[in-house]
């Protein structure tokens, strides 16, 4: 599994790998929101945590179809499926690399972009913390969606339609946690719910995604 993670990380940072695309998209989205809403500081700071979370979800979505599609096209997915690596671990490795290249950069970028949206003082840590806990679930659910649509030509739109409804619980509790934090209140209960979602997806979805991949590889 380590070999697959390091290979995919290497591929992500080389030309055409898509590393940093998510953060760039996030930046554009956030600045467009502040342009769109205009110079209304208190309105912006009220919607900032929600906008940051929606932005994070959309940037995550941007690179989901690459998770399996590239390996499918060049035949490596078939070879991986017949290799000693269990497909469940392949899925886990792919989701991990997606998180490292998309979700984790967003965690570090969110406080900086929060400034663009006039985020309240205590919100900076809360938004980064909520993204750190919540984005692994986004990558894992996304990997499951990518496994479902692998092999479908131009299945990117279908993938988005499939995955976005499943992102709603993560969005609700993630944004709630960040907003509560920004108001200076205690967000432990939302943190626990959000970690529950993340742990649940990591525990269950690799098996579901591997089963789906096996069917799609037939």
């Amino acid at each position: 599994m380590g070999a697959l993670v390091s290979r995919d990380l290497k591929l992500a940072v080389r030309a055409g790998g898509g590393f940093g695309l998510g953060v760039a998209f996030f930046l554009i989205l956030v600045s467009m929101v502040s342009f769109g809403v205009g110079p209304q500081g208190d309105l912006l700071s009220r919607i900032s945590t929600g906008m940051l979370w929606v932005g994070a979800i959309l940037s995550c979505l941007l690179s989901l179809d690459r998770i399996f599609a590239l390996d499918w096209e060049d035949g490596s997915l078939e070879l991986l499926a017949t290799s000693p690596l269990p497909l469940e671990l392949v899925v886990l490795a792919k989701a991990l690399v997606h998180w490292l290249t998309t979700g984790l950069p967003l965690v570090f970028a969110s406080p900086i972009f929060g400034a663009l949206l006039n985020l309240e003082g205590p919100g900076y840590i809360a938004i980064a913390f909520s993204l750190l806990v919540g984005t692994p679930a986004l990558s894992m659910i996304g990997a499951f969606g990518a496994a479902l649509t692998v092999g479908i030509k131009r299945g990117g739109l279908l993938l988005s339609l499939l995955v976005l409804p499943f992102y709603v619980p993560t969005l609700i509790f993630g944004a709630l946690m960040a907003r509560t934090g920004a108001n200076g209140s205690d967000y432990t209960s939302y943190l626990l719910l959000l970690s529950g979602i993340t742990c649940g997806t990591i525990a269950l979805l690799p098996f579901a995604a591997a089963a789906v991949l096996k069917i799609n590889l037939r």
């Binding site: 290979r7 490596s76 991986l80 290799s83 000693p84």
Partner: protein
């Protein structure tokens, strides 16, 4: 450590393509499948590799011994030849790729990105996965496509060496690879219905 297939029938896209397949491979032996396009060579190899479910019959083999290579090369364009091979070596729990590099004369290409190689060079790199895997049963689908005669000969020598060491090879091909001792199976004899027709004729 052998491959045992009995009364196997397989389907592609819901249509039965082969039935009544049976053969046994023992260490040191190669099996070559022949037959026209669409007869089910690829489907059969994919079924043996465990990618497709069987329709009927049995395949007795330890999946831990298999290594499969399909029509596509499975190379990452943005990784060098050496990195591609080293990745597969570590997936299969090996460290050493020098033997495979020597067998397919890849030493001059090791630093080159796989995306910049010619079709034949890509094929050679892809075939080098077989010795890199360290597995005993090689399943190869049209391995010599886009290889020149020199490179096809490299593959032949590599398979011969593998067989000498007690390995096995199962190959589907249209061209003569040059393994005189191999068992050749003509898949058109296993088309659904052919068996029944022959019995009627005998009666």
């Amino acid at each position: 450590m052998s491959l045992n297939v009995s009364d196997l029938s397989i389907s592609r896209g819901g249509v039965k393509v082969l039935e009544g397949m049976g053969f046994t491979t023992i260490p040191g032996q190669a099996v070559i499948f022949r037959g026209p396009n669409g007869i089910g060579k690829t489907t059969l190899l994919r079924t043996l590799a465990g990618l497709q479910p069987v329709l009927g019959g049995r395949i007795e083999v330890d999946p831990e011994n298999l290594v499969y290579s399909g029509h596509l090369d499975g190379l990452k364009a943005m990784l060098s030849v050496g990195e591609n091979l080293a990745f597969w070596a570590s997936v299969y729990g090996n460290r050493d790729i020098t033997e495979a590099v020597k067998a397919f004369e890849l030493n001059k290409l090791l630093e080159r990105l796989a995306g910049t190689l010619s079709a034949g060079q890509k094929r050679r790199t892809s075939l080098a996965r077989f010795p890199v895997s360290g597995r005993s049963i090689w399943i190869a689908d049209e391995p010599t496509v886009s290889l020149d005669s020199k490179a096809a000969n490299m593959f032949k020598r590599c398979v011969e060496q593998h067989l000498e060491l007690g390995g096995m090879a199962i190959i589907a091909t249209h061209v003569d690879i040059g393994l005189p001792a191999a068992i050749e199976i003509d898949l058109s004899l296993h088309k659904p219905g052919v068996e029944k027709m022959r019995k009627i004729h005998e009666v």
